[in-house]
Symmetry: C2
Subunit: 219 residues, 2 copies
């Protein structure tokens, strides 16, 4: 199987990259700068691929930013909310149509490299706030991608039944260097520890009974 992995540089996609690489699958990784607030995670993506010897493409699409107004992740006038994902304010972190854009770009590269599938690290915990993490969204998009070319490309989500804690457990057995992953929405010198994704990351490591090797602002 030949895969294109959608690699943000966060802990989930990093784990997936290691997973597929260790299965000796043919893997290419795609990261996209879509004008997000910071590019800390993209640096991690690049480093992980060079550690593994995986072909990596980092595409500069920062020109997209004007299309993505209103999200704290792509619009400097909107502050990053703090707290847990269940909170209404977390909706501010939704980037309009992000998943369709990422999968469309990965689909293009998959078609031109005659890859079999796009792999991405959707998991059991990430559907609550984000409309484009819903199962039925992905099913419809997978159907569209299947029809987008004469050569058919699938979408696979190996972690769809795993929680974030399960992913950490798996990553530890795979030897994922989590110190070289980035989750925080804010992009400071160290992880803030308070935004939605920091909150989830800390919980995941705690539930997995493991110490998160990244540094946090407080404690």
């Amino acid at each position: 199987m030949k895969y294109i992995v959608v690699l943000s540089g966060g802990m989930d996609s990093a784990t997936l990259l290691y997973d597929l690489a260790q299965q000796r699958a043919a893997v290419r990784a795609l990261s996209v700068d879509y004008g997000q607030r910071h590019v800390r995670e993209l640096g991690c993506a690049q480093l992980l691929c060079s550690l593994l010897g995986v072909e990596h493409r980092l595409v500069d699409l920062a020109g997209l930013r004007p299309l993505l107004a209103g999200s704290s992740q792509t619009d400097d006038t909107v502050a990053v909310p703090e707290g847990h994902y269940a909170e209404e304010s977390m909706k501010l972190t939704i980037v309009p149509n992000r998943n369709m854009i990422l999968l469309a770009l990965a689909g293009a590269w998959a078609i031109s490299t005659k890859s079999d599938a796009i792999a991405y690290a959707a998991h059991a915990g990430d559907h609550a706030v984000y409309p484009d993490c819903r199962e039925k969204f992905v099913s419809a998009l997978a159907q569209a991608l299947h029809l987008a070319d004469w050569h058919s490309v699938a979408i696979v989500r190996p972690y769809i039944s795993l929680t974030k804690a399960d992913i950490v457990r798996r990553g530890i057995t795979l030897g994922v260097p989590y110190q070289h992953t980035w989750s925080c929405y804010k992009g400071g010198a160290v992880h803030c520890g308070k935004c939605g994704t920091c909150t989830e990351r800390r919980e995941a490591f705690e539930l997995a009974g493991s110490k998160d090797p990244v540094l946090y602002e407080e404690g």
Copy 2:
């Protein structure tokens, strides 16, 4: 109704832009530089929008080019084929996953501007060679877009039952300045008259009994 029109600057999308603008719909137009062989049509798109006073966004995504290898439109190592669309060589002009990428980007802008629909100028003549012009591809993608956000965006294709000649007839009654549209795949000083899209354009004007105001290389 609030629309995002996918505007290439070719004759079909130019006609659609004039059509919606004259229906006094709220219209924004999106054009994308995805690293195509030439940008003649993007200049046309810009001019048409300024003539109509329509908000236009031209997004520079030329960084996409490395993902789109193998197409004559985005890969300098592949020559533009000549002749009619029915020919096998025309498959070289397929840009991998282009329609999904364009619709995904238009979808993002539609979501962030709370528009009701994306309008694009698919027509009855353009499904033969391009897999992502097939009805079932668009249906699946429309379903995905409907689910991509809490605010639902539709995809409309007002010309899906029209031939290219029908579009020319309609455009003439709307007063579309076809001299400010660009179709030729090659992007020279004038239209080559021989590539697939020039061939179709000439046929369309001939069938509509009208003179095409653009200049062609020979005659």
